[in-house]
Symmetry: C2
Subunit: 209 residues, 2 copies
């Protein structure tokens, strides 16, 4: 069997064990056994538990961002792009719960080098969403335009909401990927949509109780 194929099998097993047991409790013995190889071979190919975990984070971060990008056709209207992107995101995280646990939970919980890997993926997704919100604002031809700061803030809010909702959907029985996507779309788009039409929620004046 070619090395590349064997390596993918080891990563498959590692994502499953890291995702289900957590980084600390995961044992290299169990990963090797699940991959159907010897433990020395895992070390030979992937070097150490740290390097194996880093390889898992990188592979799964790439797979997730690729799935979201692939789900979106940039020639469609903005609300359709957002819906397709959300659906692709929640479908991927629902179909790969161990990978999502590695990215969202494990990578952020076990030290800065791993957290930095996950943060890089997040930055990429935030800029993808920022572009999408900016396009939506342009499509709406609003005058004055949404300030750049607000577009960036909305993208951050949307990504944070999606992360939180994916973690909740994966641990709450009976919540489908489509339901999670639809909840967030209704939350986000009706809000964003109102903003695009210049309909703001207006805070009460300062100092009023």
């Amino acid at each position: 069997m070619p090395r590349a194929v064997r390596e993918q099998q080891m990563l498959d097993a590692a994502v499953q064990i890291f995702g289900q047991r957590g980084y600390m409790a995961a044992s290299m013995d169990e990963i090797a056994e699940l991959a159907g190889v010897s433990k020395p071979l895992v070390y030979l190919y992937l070097n150490s538990k740290e390097d194996l975990f880093t390889a898992c984070i990188r592979r799964e971060a790439t797979a997730l961002t690729r799935a979201v990008r692939a789900g979106v056709r940039t020639d469609l209207p903005a609300d359709r792009q957002l819906w397709d992107g959300l659906r692709a995101f929640f479908q991927h995280t629902a179909e790969h719960p161990d990978a999502w646990s590695v990215l969202h939970l494990q990578a952020r919980t076990h030290g800065e080098p791993f957290a930095a890997e996950a943060a890089a993926m997040r930055t990429e997704i935030v800029s993808f969403v920022t572009r999408l919100v900016a396009v939506a604002a342009r499509e709406a031809h609003r005058d004055p335009d949404l300030p750049e700061h607000e577009v960036a803030g909305l993208a951050e809010a949307l990504v944070g909401a999606a992360e939180s909702l994916a973690a909740w959907a994966n641990t709450t029985p009976g919540v489908t990927a489509r339901q999670a996507a639809s909840t967030l779309m209704n939350f986000a788009w009706s809000g964003l949509g109102a903003l695009m039409r210049g309909r703001r929620w207006t805070p009460p004046p300062e100092g009023v109780v």
Copy 2:
């Protein structure tokens, strides 16, 4: 000086150092120096770096949830409650950036016991927001009611959005707490508000490209 006062001074210093340097790089020497006490006294009072960090997380989690609760008057309309809660949240995280870094970043990055402390605070905030969304839905007298699953999902989305936005606001020059609260309120309330009025965003039929 009474022990309780000294302890608070040590915690003040520790939150600042942990928040700015990160948990790993923070030194007990620096914390003791900033608190104006000897290092052995810090160990005598707080036992270990781990226990000191845990005490910081607990204190700051309590302070944040208390600030949010104190900002909200439950006899006001739901949108006003949400706005007041968001404003209290972003004001607190802006005024205590080191505490927010400890709670949002450091506590989640350095092992499961610390992450569990931060998760407990998050659970409390999510249930507070869930109640708020449920009250808003009841006020709107919609028939049929928003399903319970959707209310829980909306609360998760809102909390995730707020966390993400607070981290962004604290690291982006020129973004005030009021702007961050207003961005999220517009994003969230117009969306939630539309939902309450029964105005849903409707997905395109399945299978259509």
